[in-house]
Amino acid sequence: MKLPRNLWAWIVALAAMHAVIACAGFLAPYDPAEQDREHPYAPPTTIHFRDARGDFQMRPFVHPLRREADSFGQYTEDTAAAIPLRFSVAGARYRLLGVVPSRLHLFGAAGARVALLGTDGFGRDQFSRLLWGGQISLLAGLAATALTLAFGLLIGAAAGFRGGWTDEILMRLAELFLALPWLYLLFALRAFLPLTVSPLEAFFLVVGVIGVVGWARPARLVRGVVLSAKERDYVRAARGFGASGGYILRRHILPQTASVLLTQAAILAPQYVLAEVTLSFLGLGVPEPAPSWGNLLANLQQYSVLTSYWWMSLPALALTPFFLGYLGLASALQRWADPSKMEASNLGTRW
């Protein structure tokens, strides 16, 4: 199948962004839970290229941080010691892509902590937490998207293909789900599920809640496609030849829902990533010590963090490239699937 070039560009860009997050273990210099109680709220480490005499150094270096006596979060660089930055160093153990055990990290420095985005109140490296947190947030968003689309496909196909009272009941139910403001619905469901759970349970809980809540819109779209496909001549012909309902659905009707489902996936994925971030931000999602983009931002709910430690707000920026990628992908997909709807493609929606 030949895809237009701009669609390819968005796919490649998104794949690259996800690859960065998938390789978090290698790119992040530290374990996300590794604490350094001596250096809470340390500002981003400065990478130096010029030594004390002002000469340019080929190998960048860092100065270790020294906490000022009797202070909390006041640091000075110890310029006496210059620690060279090294590439592919051995560090904390991790599993690449969750499978391959490794100790190799892209960069690091022996004897000093390199915190590109500063550290949090426990002295944990924000850069490492951001990368690792991305794994949880993105995975939750994508898994929830898959779940929603599976529900949507199942229910929409059933409603459209069976018709009659099945259709009536399912579509009235969909109307109920659409009648609630999305986030309130999400909260309502989350409210009645257990609060204190382990990070892993919380992850599945969040995926489940987000995935279950959003089925109505894709189900309606799928139903529309199925309804129109059902009346096509080749479907009637197949039926005339004695094909079973399951066969017709599988062979002739469901393949036609692919473009709707793909477009919906591109629209829903960023929303669902944001939903996970929002839930974790409010303390209803993945709990500490596991990092997620939401609970990284949750630090900002403390007034002192907001006023004094500007680097703590940097993780918020991580969301925007992904949003851009998915938005671009969604409009390119819509344009490709249905060129007549050029205009509708880039209207943009928010939940």
Partner: protein, 325 residues
Amino acid sequence: MTRYVLRRIAHAALLLTGVSLLTFLFTALTPGKYFDEMKLNPQIAPGTIAALRAQYGVDQPLPARYARWVSGLLRGELGYSFAYGAPVGPLVGVRARNTLLLTAVAMLLAWGIALPLGIWSAEREDRWPDHLLTAATGALLIVPDLVLALGLLLFAVRSGWFPTGGMAAVGAESLAWAARGRDYALHLALPVAALVLSTLPMLVRHVRAAFLDVLDSSYLRAARGHGISRRRLLYHHALRAAANPLLSLAGFSLGTLLSGSLIIEVVMSWPGLGPLLLEAILARDLYVVIAGVLLSTVFLAGGNLVADLLLYWADPRIRAERAGT
């Protein structure tokens, strides 16, 4: 007309009943969790907890609880808050008023900006102001509302120009009315700005698309040929013609606005439904959650009802359709 209105109202009422049933079904997942946490406290006797459970009716099966809640609702009671030990109605009422104030101001402002901006952009289709605006709305679209709210909060904290939470300064009641109004406006500014910025791109793009559809229609070209002024052409003739998709969008965007305000209220500590709902979830305060969720549906259904009525008023095609059937 009356039949149309009655049908819309009946539809909204049915929807509300359905949503209340749905929420109660959700509660079946964990009935009476609030009291389960009391069991962990050795100072509370098991008998006390059982008595409390009976008092609040959480030991009864789901249909009985629903019947009890509905009969209370008919008497104007929304249930009883476990955590506050007070009726839910007044508790939620104040918060709902604040949320309504926030969303209403934001909605008016957002449409007030989006309408002229979208029309202006549609008039200059494919010229650089249009491209510039599309790029600007695109840039806003990729900033999630949570990030937007946090950014504005950070701005307020750093600049010190705006208060960073609440609805009014301490002791605002004793101020003269002008100073009090200024105080309210300052507190409203940031949450409203966050809400407007998060809904604006979607609205502008829809207005632009709706007007593009209308602007090259033959009747508008004829009207232009008659020498009708640009202003009257756009804001009278074209607006009436483009009203249909925009009014539907207005109803739909209310849901977006309510969801957005939920987060923004929490981030900016605006005393609306958002923070109350969050507290209630964390405290397992069953009936507060149900009331909050249901109120949001009432707002949304109400907004859609108003949009439907406006549509009936604005679009003769719908009136004709009704008269025909």
